[in-house]
C-alpha cells in the first residue's frame, strides 16, 4: 500500500535528471579527493576514480530505468518514433488508415443492422420461452395476412380458435394474440393516421413488458366485444407526438370513438412481431372500432391474428406440439361440421391434413425479417469482400513498406539497436495504424448507420423497425480484429530481421526483389483484383436490375400521378356515411384546377398490397381437381381505370350510369378472361361474384388490358374490378390524382378541398406514384446503391494495391531496366514490359474469378430482375473496368521505370 503511494508520487514528480547527474558528479569528486589523499597524482586519482565507478552513462541510464514511470516513458518514446515513422510515408499511412476505418465502419454498420434484424431477441422477459404458432391445412373464409406465410405455415388464426387453444392447452403459461391496423387517432383536436396493435388482455403480462406510465392491459381489458375502450400508448409515440404529456385517464379518440388512456408501455418495446411499430395498443375486443368494415371476433372463418405462446418451464417445443395437436385436431373437427363444403376431399384437407406448428419465437415472428434477410445477407457478403480486400491491401502495403525499410532496420541494428527495440517499434506502428483506423471507423459508423436506415425508411417517415444504435459488441469485435491484423502484419517484416545478415541487407538494393515475399504480394494483388471483379459484376447485376425494374411498364403511365389515402372511418364516420363522403371527395378533387382526372381504389397499386379471393363465373365449371384460382378483387371508383390509363380491350369502362342503386357491374382484365373464357367478347354479359355471397354478384361490362398490380416485378394477376359504391360494405380508399403540373404541387389544394368537406378527415400517405414505386423497390435500390459504392471502393482498393506492388517491383528492377535501356531498349518497350506484367496478373485473377462470380450471382438470383446470371455485357464491363484500373495503376510506375537514366541506374551501388 505504502509502496504504491510512493510509486504514484514518483510517477508524477519523478526525479529530475539533473539530480542524478549532480549526485554522480559529487561521488566522483569525493573519490578523487580520497585518491589524492592516498597520495596519487591528480591525473592518476581521476583515472582510478573513473575506473572504480564504471560506465557513467550506463549508471545514469540505469538510474532512469528504475523510475516507476519508465515503461510508460518507453512506450511514449516508441510511439513518438512510430508516429514519425508513419509520417515519413504519409500517403501510405493515409491509405492504410482509411482502409482500416472503412472496413471497421462498414462492418459495424452492416452487422449492427444484421443483428437487429436477424439475431436479436425481443426485448421481453425470457424470450427463449416464446414460441410462434402456425398451421397447415385448408381454410374457408376471410384471411387477413401481414405476409410471412410459406406452404404449411399459415400464421393467422381466428379469435375463437385462439380462445379455445388458450383456455384448453396444458403447455403454455400464457398464449397471446395480436394484429395490426391503421387507425385515425385524435389528440387535442388534432387527427392523424397512426398504427394500432390489437392485443389480448394478457399480451403485456405474458411478454413481461412493464409500464413506463400508469398500467398496461390485464385480463379485465378483454371481456366482451366492444366493452373495453382503453388504450396503451407506445413510448416513442407518447414521446414524439404527445410530448410526454400526463396522459393517464385522459381520452384519445380512435376512429372517432373515445378511448381512455391507461398507460404507456416501457421504452424500447414495440411489438411481439419484429418490424411492427405500433403507436397505440388497444384490446383485441375493440376490433370493430379499429376496423369497422370487418366483423372478425365472433367469426370462426376469419383468420386475422398471430399467436405467440410462452411455454411452461421445462416443456420442450416438441412436447408442446404433440399435446397441442391433439387439441387442435379436435377443434378443427368441430369447426368442420359447421362448414359449407362437407365433401370427403374438403374434410381431408381441413381436418386430416391440418397440423399446428410450434416454432421457436425468441426473435418473434416477422414477415419483415423474411423480406430483409436476403438483401441484408447480400450486403453483408459485399461488406465481407470489401473487408477482405481492405485487409489484404493493408497487409501488402505494410509489407511493401517493410521491404523498403530493410536498409533502415539494418542500419539501426548496426548502430546497436536490439531486436526487442525494433520489434517494439514495429508493434507501435501497427498499433497506431489500427487505433487510428478504429477511431475513424467509430466516427463514421453511427452516421453511416443513420443514413442507411433513413435510406431504407424512404420518404414515408414511418417509424423504422431499425434503431440507429451501433452494436458495440460488433464494433469492438471488428476493431480488435483489425487491430490484431494490423499488428500482425506490421510484425511480419520482423521475421526478416530476426537473423540479419547486415552486409547482405545493406546491399539489398542490388538484388531484384526477394522472391518469396514478392510472390506473396503478387498473390495479394491477384486476390484484390478477383474480389473487385466480383463486386463490380455484382454491382452491374444489381444496377441492371434496378434499371430494369424502373423501366418496367406497369401498363399505365406512372408520371404526374399523386396518391394519398382517405378513410372516413378513421375520422369516426359510421358505415353508411362513408361512401357518400368518399364520393364527395372525388367530386371535389375532380373540380380542382390543374387536375386531369381522379380515381380511387381500396386496393392500392404497386405497394405489395392485395385483396384476393375465389370467384364464380356463370357458365364456367371448374375442373373438380383444379386448384383454387384466386382473383384480385379491387373496389374502384367510376373514373379509376380512365385516370390510371388502363387500356380498354372490349366492352366499356364504368360510367355515370353505374350508381350505388343500379345493376352491379364488373370490369375484368385479360388474364381473367384467358382463364375463364378464352376471348374478351365471350366475357361480356356474364355474371361473376364471390361464392355464397349473393350481394357480390355483378355483370361483366368491360375487359381491360393487363396491368401490374402488386409490384412492378411481380407477374400480372387476374383482376376483377367492381365499383366501391356498389360494394357490400364501406372501405377506406387510396386516391390517385392525375395532374398537369408536378403532382406535389396539387397536394395543398387537395388537402384544402378535403378539409372543406370535413376538417376531421385524415389525408394520409401522400406520395407520388413514382415515389411509391421507388418505395416498393427499396430493397433492390439499397442493394444497387451499396453495390455501386462497394464496387467503386473495390476498384479503388485494387488500384492502390496494384500500384503499391508495381511501384515496389519496378524500383527493385531499376538496375535491370537500366541495363535493358543501355542495350538499346526503347522507352515504349519498357513501359510495355511493366504494363504486360500488370495485365498478365489481372488476366490470371479475372480467369479465376469469373466462375466464382457466376456462382455468386446464382445465389442471389431471387433479388435479380431481367438479368441473366451470365450476362456477357456485365462481365465484359467488369473486366474492362479492371483492365482500366490495372493500366492506370501500372502506368505511373511504368513511366518512372521508362524515365530511368541508364547511366545512373548502372552506377547505383
Amino acid at each position: 500500500m505504502w509502496e504504491w503511494l510512493a510509486k504514484a508520487r514518483f510517477f508524477f514528480s519523478g526525479k529530475r535528471r539533473v539530480e542524478v547527474d549532480e549526485e554522480i558528479a559529487f561521488h566522483l569528486e569525493r573519490q578523487v579527493e580520497v585518491n589524492l589523499a592516498a597520495g596519487m597524482s591528480p591525473e592518476e586519482a581521476r583515472r582510478r576514480a573513473a575506473i572504480v565507478f564504471g560506465g557513467r552513462e550506463r549508471a545514469r541510464e540505469q538510474c532512469r530505468e528504475q523510475r516507476p514511470s519508465w515503461s510508460v516513458e518507453l512506450l511514449l518514446r516508441d510511439m513518438r518514433f512510430a508516429v514519425r515513422g508513419l509520417f515519413r510515408n504519409p500517403g501510405l499511412t493515409t491509405v492504410a488508415i482509411l482502409t482500416l476505418a472503412l472496413a471497421i465502419g462498414a462492418n459495424s454498420t452492416i452487422f449492427s443492422l444484421m443483428s437487429q434484424a436477424l439475431l436479436r431477441a425481443l426485448p421481453v422477459r425470457d424470450p427463449q420461452q416464446l414460441v410462434v404458432l402456425s398451421y397447415a391445412g385448408s381454410h374457408e373464409g376471410h384471411t387477413h395476412s401481414e405476409g410471412g406465410n410459406t406452404p404449411g405455415h399459415r400464421h393467422e388464426f381466428s379469435y375463437l380458435m385462439y380462445r379455445d387453444v388458450r383456455d384448453r392447452n396444458t403447455v403454455f403459461s400464457g398464449l397471446i394474440a395480436s394484429a395490426q391496423s391503421a387507425v385515425g387517432a385524435t389528440w387535442n383536436n388534432h387527427a392523424e393516421a397512426v398504427t394500432a396493435e390489437m392485443v389480448t388482455g394478457n399480451y403485456f403480462s405474458v411478454l413481461g413488458v412493464r409500464p413506463a406510465v400508469g398500467r398496461l392491459f390485464d385480463g379485465g381489458d378483454e371481456t366482451a366485444e366492444g366493452a373495453n375502450p382503453v388504450v396503451v400508448l407506445n413510448f416513442d409515440y407518447w414521446k414524439s407526438h404527445l410530448a410526454e404529456a400526463p396522459v393517464e385517464g385522459r381520452t384519445l379518440l380512435i376512429n372517432g370513438q373515445p378511448f381512455t388512456i391507461v398507460g404507456v408501455s416501457a421504452p424500447g418495446f414495440h411489438s411481439v412481431e419484429w418490424g411492427r411499430t405500433p403507436n397505440v395498443y388497444v384490446p383485441i375486443t375493440m376490433q370493430r372500432v379499429v376496423e369497422p368494415e370487418w366483423k372478425y371476433l365472433s367469426d370462426r372463418n376469419s383468420y386475422w391474428i398471430n399467436l405467440v405462446g410462452r411455454l411452461r418451464g421445462g416443456v420442450k417445443p416438441e412436447q408442446a406440439s404433440a399435446s397441442l395437436n391433439v387439441l387442435f385436431h379436435g377443434l378443427r373437427e368441430q369447426e368442420f361440421t359447421k362448414l359449407h363444403d362437407q365433401s370427403a376431399k374438403a374434410r381431408k384437407e381441413y381436418v386430416d391434413a391440418s397440423h399446428l406448428n410450434v416454432e421457436a419465437g425468441a426473435r418473434g415472428f416477422s414477415p419483415l425479417r423474411d423480406d430483409v434477410r436476403m438483401p441484408l445477407l447480400i450486403i453483408m457478403g459485399m461488406v465481407v469482400l470489401v473487408i477482405a480486400m481492405a485487409v489484404v491491401n493493408v497487409a501488402s502495403l505494410l509489407l511493401v513498406r517493410a521491404a523498403n525499410r530493410v536498409r533502415e532496420f539494418s542500419v539501426r541494428y548496426a548502430m546497436g539497436a536490439t531486436a526487442p527495440q525494433i520489434l517494439r517499434q514495429l508493434l507501435c506502428e501497427g498499433m497506431l495504424l489500427g487505433l487510428a483506423g478504429a477511431a475513424l471507423g467509430i466516427a463514421i459508423a453511427p452516421e453511416a448507420l443513420r443514413l442507411l436506415i433513413q435510406w431504407m425508411q424512404g420518404s414515408t417517415g414511418d417509424p423504422s423497425a431499425f434503431t440507429a444504435t451501433l452494436d458495440w459488441r460488433v464494433f469492438a469485435f471488428t476493431a480488435v480484429a483489425m487491430l490484431a491484423g494490423s499488428i500482425l502484419f506490421s510484425l511480419a517484416p520482423a521475421a526478416q530481421f530476426w537473423n540479419p545478415r547486415l552486409a547482405d541487407a545493406l546491399k539489398q538494393q542490388l538484388s531484384t526483389g526477394v522472391g518469396g515475399s514478392l510472390r506473396f504480394r503478387r498473390t495479394c494483388v491477384a486476390l484484390q483484383i478477383g474480389f473487385s471483379l466480383l463486386l463490380m459484376v455484382g454491382a452491374g447485376m444489381f444496377v441492371r436490375t434496378i434499371e430494369n425494374l424502373r423501366h418496367v411498364n406497369p401498363g399505365f403511365a406512372t408520371d404526374h400521378l399523386l396518391a394519398f389515402g382517405l378513410a372516413p372511418e378513421l375520422a369516426g364516420y359510421p358505415g353508411p356515411a362513408v361512401v357518400p363522403v368518399e364520393l364527395r371527395a372525388l367530386e371535389a378533387i375532380k373540380n380542382l384546377p390543374g387536375i386531369r382526372g381522379v380515381g380511387a381504389t381500396n386496393d392500392a397499386d404497386l405497394t405489395d398490397e392485395g385483396r384476393e379471393g375465389d370467384v364464380y363465373v356463370t357458365g364456367f365449371q371448374e375442373k373438380p381437381a383444379a386448384d383454387e384460382f384466386d382473383v384480385e378483387l379491387p373496389w374502384v371508383s367510376n373514373d379509376y381505370l380512365q385516370t390510371l390509363g388502363v387500356p380498354l380491350v372490349a366492352g366499356r369502362y364504368f360510367n355515370r350510369s353505374d350508381t350505388s342503386t343500379s345493376q352491379r357491374v364488373a370490369v375484368v382484365n385479360e388474364s381473367f378472361v384467358r382463364h375463364y373464357f378464352g376471348s374478351p367478347q365471350a366475357a361480356l354479359g356474364r355474371h361473376t361474384g364471390r361464392p355464397d355471397r349473393p350481394a357480390t354478384d355483378a355483370v361483366i361490362v368491360g375487359v381491360t388490358a393487363d396491368v401490374k398490380h402488386t409490384s412492378v416485378q411481380d407477374p400480372v394477376l387476374p383482376m376483377c374490378y367492381t365499383l366501391f359504391e356498389q360494394a357490400p360494405r364501406p372501405s377506406g380508399l387510396t386516391f390517385y390524382v392525375r395532374t398537369w403540373q408536378k403532382p406535389e404541387e396539387a397536394t395543398n389544394a387537395i388537402r384544402a378541398a378535403i378539409a372543406n368537406i370535413d376538417s376531421k378527415l385524415i389525408v394520409s400517405k401522400v406520395t407520388t406514384m413514382s415515389g411509391e414505386i421507388d418505395e416498393n423497390l427499396l430493397a433492390q435500390r439499397t442493394i444497387a446503391l451499396l453495390a455501386m459504392v462497394f464496387g467503386a471502393l473495390a476498384a479503388l482498393l485494387a488500384g492502390i494495391g496494384l500500384y503499391g506492388i508495381l511501384a515496389y517491383s519496378t524500383a527493385q528492377r531499376t538496375r535491370e531496366i537500366g541495363i535493358r535501356m543501355a542495350l538499346g531498349a526503347q522507352r515504349g518497350s519498357v513501359v510495355g514490359l511493366i504494363l504486360r506484367e500488370t495485365l498478365l496478373l489481372a488476366g490470371c485473377a479475372v480467369a479465376a474469378t469469373v466462375p466464382l462470380a457466376i456462382l455468386g450471382a446464382r445465389a442471389v438470383r431471387s433479388q435479380l430482375y431481367g438479368v441473366s446470371i451470365a450476362d456477357p455485357m456485365i462481365y465484359a464491363a467488369g473486366i474492362a473496368g479492371i483492365c482500366v484500373v490495372a493500366v492506370l495503376a501500372g502506368f505511373v510506375p511504368a513511366r518512372r521505370a521508362a524515365s530511368v537514366d541508364p547511366a545512373r541506374a548502372l552506377r547505383t551501388d
Binding site: H27, R30, V52, Q62
Partner: protein, 109 residues
C-alpha cells in the same frame, strides 16, 4: 586487491539498508562502509550502487535529502523510512534463517 565476491541483487539492497540504518549516508560513504566493514571482501560496483539506491527510494524504503558532506559540499544523504526499517528487519530475519539453514547443512554433510 583481495578477491571480492559479486553481490546478489537482493543482498546488495539489504546491505545498503543496513549501512544507513544508524545514520544518513551519501552514496560513496555507503559503498566505502560496506567495503570496510567486510574487510574489503564485498566490493560494491559503484555503477550499480546508484541504480540500487534509486530503486529503493522508488520503493519507499529509503528517502533522500540534500545535506552537507564532511568536506562541506552538497550531497544527497539517504536514510531509512519506517517502511524501510520494517523491510530491513524482515530481510535480516530471512537472511539469518537462510544462513543458519545453510550452515546446518554444511556442518552435517
Amino acid at each position: 586487491m583481495p578477491t571480492s565476491i559479486d553481490l546478489l541483487q537482493g543482498t546488495l539492497d539489504m546491505l545498503i539498508l543496513k549501512a544507513i540504518a544508524n545514520e544518513p549516508q551519501h552514496g560513496l560513504a555507503i559503498a566505502q562502509r560496506i567495503q570496510q566493514v567486510s574487510n574489503n571482501v564485498l566490493q560494491v560496483g559503484q555503477g550499480s550502487l546508484y541504480p540500487a539506491l534509486h530503486r529503493l527510494e522508488y520503493k519507499g524504503w529509503i528517502k533522500a535529502q540534500w545535506g552537507t558532506s564532511e568536506n562541506n559540499r552538497k550531497a544527497r544523504f539517504y536514510s531509512l523510512t519506517a517502511a524501510g526499517r520494517k523491510h530491513l528487519a524482515a530481510e535480516l530475519d530471512n537472511w539469518e534463517r537462510l544462513a543458519g539453514a545453510v550452515n546446518l547443512v554444511l556442518a552435517e554433510i
